[in-house]
C-alpha cells in the first residue's frame, strides 16, 4: 500500500520537473521576495520615514527586517498555496480524481502533498534573499536568517494544519479561489509584517495570536534587533508555534476526514 512518503516523492518529482520545464518561471521566483520587500517598504514608509518605520517596528536594522519579513510572507504564501491550493489546482486540471484514487486515505494525501512544495518555496525564498542579507548584515545577518528559517520550519507545522483546514473547506464549496485569496492577505495583515501587531485594534490583536505567521514575524523582529539576540522571547515563539501546530493539525485531521466523507457523498468534482 502506498503511503505519505510516496505522496511527497510524487509531489517533489512533479514540482522539480515542472520547474525544469518552466525555467523562466523558476528564475522569476527568485525575484518575488524582492517584489514583496518593495511592497512592505511602500506600506511601511507610507506614514513616515524609514527611521520612523524602524522605530515603529522596534528593529535596529530595517533592511534586514524587510528581507526577513518578506521571506516569512513569501513562505507563508507558498505554504497556504501548496496545501490549500492543492485541491483547487488539481480540480482545475482534472487530476484531483486520479490523485484521490491513489490507494491510501485521502486525508493522508492532503496532509502530505503540500510539504515538498512548501519546503521548496521556503528554500527558494531564503536562497533569493541571502545575498542581500549577507550584504546588509554580513555573516551575522546570514546566521540570523538561518535562525528565521528554523523558526519558519516550525511555523510551517501550524500553517500546514491551517491550510488543510482551508483545503477541507475548498473540497466542500464551489467558489474556492476566494478562500485562498482572502486567507493570505488577511494573515499578513494581522501578523505584523506591515506594522506592529500592538497597533492593531483589540479584536484583530486577539485574532493575530491565532495566526502562525505572527510568531514567525515576531522571530524575524527579534532577529532584526542587532547587537544581542534575546533567547527567552524566541523560546516563547517556538512554544507558541508548537501549541498552534497541535491545535490546528488536530482540527485539520478531523476536518479533512469529515470533508472526505462529505465529498464522497457528493462527488469529488
Amino acid at each position: 500500500m502506498a503511503g505519505a512518503i510516496d505522496v511527497m516523492r510524487a509531489q517533489l518529482h512533479a514540482t522539480i520537473y515542472w520547474y525544469k520545464n518552466n525555467r523562466w518561471l523558476f528564475f522569476t521566483m527568485f525575484l518575488w521576495p524582492y517584489l514583496m520587500v518593495g511592497m512592505l517598504l511602500v506600506v511601511g514608509v507610507m506614514f513616515g520615514s524609514m527611521k520612523e518605520y524602524a522605530s515603529r517596528m522596534g528593529v535596529s536594522s530595517p533592511g534586514f527586517f524587510l528581507l526577513s519579513a518578506s521571506t516569512v510572507a513569501m513562505s507563508s504564501l507558498g505554504i497556504v498555496d501548496a496545501v490549500a491550493g492543492f485541491a483547487l489546482y488539481n480540480r482545475w486540471l482534472g487530476t484531483l480524481n486520479y490523485i484521490v484514487l491513489s490507494p491510501m486515505r485521502t486525508t493522508l494525501i492532503f496532509l502530505a502533498a503540500g510539504i515538498p512544495d512548501s519546503l521548496i518555496t521556503m528554500l527558494i525564498t531564503v536562497t533569493s534573499v541571502s545575498p542581500a542579507v549577507l550584504y546588509i548584515g554580513g555573516l551575522g545577518g546570514g546566521l540570523r536568517l538561518l535562525l528565521i528559517l528554523l523558526v519558519m520550519l516550525v511555523g510551517m507545522l501550524p500553517l500546514l494544519g491551517l491550510s488543510v483546514l482551508a483545503a477541507s473547506l475548498l473540497l466542500l464549496v464551489k467558489e474556492e479561489s476566494n478562500i485562498i485569496n482572502s486567507i493570505v492577505p488577511f494573515m499578513l495583515l494581522v501578523s505584523g509584517v506591515f506594522y506592529p501587531v500592538e497597533i492593531l485594534p483589540g479584536l484583530l490583536q486577539a485574532v493575530s495570536r491565532a495566526v502562525p505567521v505572527t510568531y514567525v514575524v515576531r522571530a524575524a523582529r527579534i532577529a532584526s534587533v542587532f547587537g544581542g539576540l534575546r533567547g527567552a522571547p524566541l523560546i516563547a515563539v517556538f512554544y507558541s508555534l508548537l501549541l498552534l501546530a497541535l491545535a490546528y493539525n488536530g482540527a485539520a485531521s478531523l476536518a479533512i476526514r469529515g470533508a472526505e466523507e462529505r465529498v464522497r457523498m457528493r462527488g469529488v468534482d
Binding site: V7, A10, S102, P103, R105
Partner: protein
Amino acid sequence: MPGDWAIIAEGLVKRYLTYARRGFIRRERRIIEALRGVSFKVNWGEVFGLLGPNGAGKTTTVKILTTLLLPDDGNAWVAGYNVVDEPVRVREQIGVVLNVEKGFFWKLTGRENLRYFGMLRGLRGRDLEDRVDEVGGMLGLDKLGAMDKLYEEFSLGMKARLAIARAMLTDPPVLILDEPTLGLDPHSARGIRSLLVRLARRGKAVLITTHNMFEAELICDRVAIINRGRIAAIGTVAELKRLVTDTVPINIVFTGLAEDGLESLEKLVAERLGTPARISGEDRGYRIRMLAKPGEEDRIIAESISMLSSMGLKVHRVYVEEPSLEDVFIKVTGGET
C-alpha cells in the same frame, strides 16, 4: 461470493441534491435520482459495456464503483472488496479512466506524468521506470514520441492513450473506463479497442461506458443498457438483439429456378421448414427471404441450403438481417440519446 465476480453492483441508488436559482437569493431545492437500483455483475475476463443516453447514470455508476462516490443505498464490490467499507483495497485493484481529455499536468511530459501517478500508487525505483516504459510501449506512446513530449502538446489520441497507460500502471485486475475512445480518430480507437479485448482475454475484467454502439457490438462480451437510473436490459449483444425482434429474417440468393417455379418453391419452403417464405428477383437470380424464430437460424439455413441444392439450384449467398445494437438501444431507451 463477491470475489467470484470482478464487479458486483447490487441495487445502487444515488440521489443528488441540487439548487435552482429563483431570483437573487431564493433557491429551489431539487433532488435528482441519478440511480434507482442499478444491479449487474461483471465476470473476470470479459469486456462489459455500460450503455445509456446522456444523464442515464453511467458516470455515477462508474464513480461509485471507483470509490469516488458513496451510494445512498445498495452496495457494490470490486474484486471482492466493498466500495463503501474498503475503498483503499478497491483502489489497489482498479485502473480508471474518467475523462480522456484531461487529468494530467500540462507542463510535464508523458513520462513525467506517468511517473507521478506511478509514485502515488506506490511504485518506486527500477519497478517504476520499467512499468512506465512498458505501458508507454503497450499504448504506442513511445512510437508517437509522446513519452518525452509536454502534455500540453498532445493530440486527443495521445491523451487517451496516456490515460489508459496510467490506468494500467500497476497492472490492475479490473479496468473501469468511462468513454475511453470518445473523440478519437478511427485508427487510435481501433488500437485501444483491440488492446482492451486482449487485456480481457488475459483474464482482466474491463468495464467501459460508451455511446458508441458499433464499439459495444464489436468488443463487449456483455452489455447493460442503463436508462433513467435503471438497468433497462442486460445480456450478450445477441441476447439483446432478440429483445427487439421475435423473428430473424434470413436471405438466400440463388440461381437456376424457372420463373413458373417461384410459387411452388415458396409453398414447399413453408411446408418443409415451417417458416413463411417470399421469393423476389435479385441480380440475375432470385432471393428467398424466410423468417426464423430466434435460435432457429442455423437449422433453417442448413435445411434450406440442402433443399435448394437437392433441387439442382445453385446457392450463391446467405445473409441474416440482424437488428443493430442501436435498434435495441433506441427501443429500450424509448428513443432517447
